[in-house]
């Protein structure tokens, strides 16, 4: 199973209780991985209210994942 590097920002970091982790997963897309994590950590936000970045670039939720990919789920932003 590929190992994925995850980093959590804002409320996701709080809900996951960590800022980062390396995780083995059998899920093959970013969207499916989010659902797995949502079940594990109880993330409040549905994927439809977020975006996902793979290797520091925005990608569609259907993006397939491979060993070593760096994945960040992007909750609604609030900078400025």
């Amino acid at each position: 199973m590929p190992r994925i590097e995850l980093e959590y920002f804002a409320q996701l970091g709080e809900q996951a209780g960590r800022r980062a982790e390396t995780r083995e997963t059998s899920e093959t897309t970013a969207g499916a991985l989010y659902e797995e994590l949502r079940a594990a950590y109880g993330f409040a936000l549905p994927a439809g209210q977020m975006r996902v970045a793979v290797n520091a670039a925005f990608r569609p939720w259907t993006q397939s994942l491979k060993e070593g990919d760096h994945v960040v789920f992007i909750p609604p932003v609030s900078g400025g």
């Binding site: 980093e7 920002f9 804002a10 409320q11 970091g13 709080e14 209210q49 977020m50 975006r51 970045a53 520091a56 670039a57 925005f58 960040v72 992007i74 909750p75 609604p76 932003v77 609030s78 900078g79 400025g80």
Partner: protein, 141 residues
């Protein structure tokens, strides 16, 4: 000239401004975002900003590239802070130099609107009553 910075400490904005001084520019517009003492009627003591820096920087650069293409401007720079900022602190700074004022104003406004809309930065408000909350989004990220 087109530079987007994420800074984890205070930046000398006088120095940023100086990088934008160009003899072909006649108008210069800046926008600054400051930590305000109230939000939605609640008393704020500070705001903590968190950024996913690599993506924030590339997304910020995309915004500045768009601006250079869409508006007749000479030079532009934007900076967003991360970390813990008490009331009154500077959270964001944008400066735009242009031959004429109309483009300077419009480009500056475009940049702050797009930063708020798309750059992966989040804020957590610290209230005077001791509560701390991630701020409900401006927009879907």
């Amino acid at each position: 000239m087109n530079r987007f910075l994420i800074a984890d400490r205070a930046v000398d904005i006088g120095a940023l401004r100086e990088t934008l001084l160009k003899p072909e520019a006649g108008g210069f517009c800046t926008f600054e975002g400051w930590v305000r003492q109230t939000n939605d009627g609640r008393l704020v003591s500070a705001i903590e900003y968190e950024a996913f820096a690599p993506l924030a920087i590339s997304e910020g650069r995309s915004i500045l590239d768009e601006v250079m293409e869409r508006f007749d401007i000479t030079a532009i720079c934007a900076m967003h802070r991360t970390g813990y900022l008490p009331v009154g602190d500077l959270a964001v700074w944008i400066g735009v130099a242009a031959p004429h004022r109309d483009a300077a104003f419009k480009a500056c406004r475009y940049v702050i609107d797009e930063i708020k809309r798309r750059v992966p930065i989040w804020k957590r408000e610290h209230y005077v009553d001791g509560q701390i909350e991630w701020v409900a989004c401006h927009h879907v990220g």
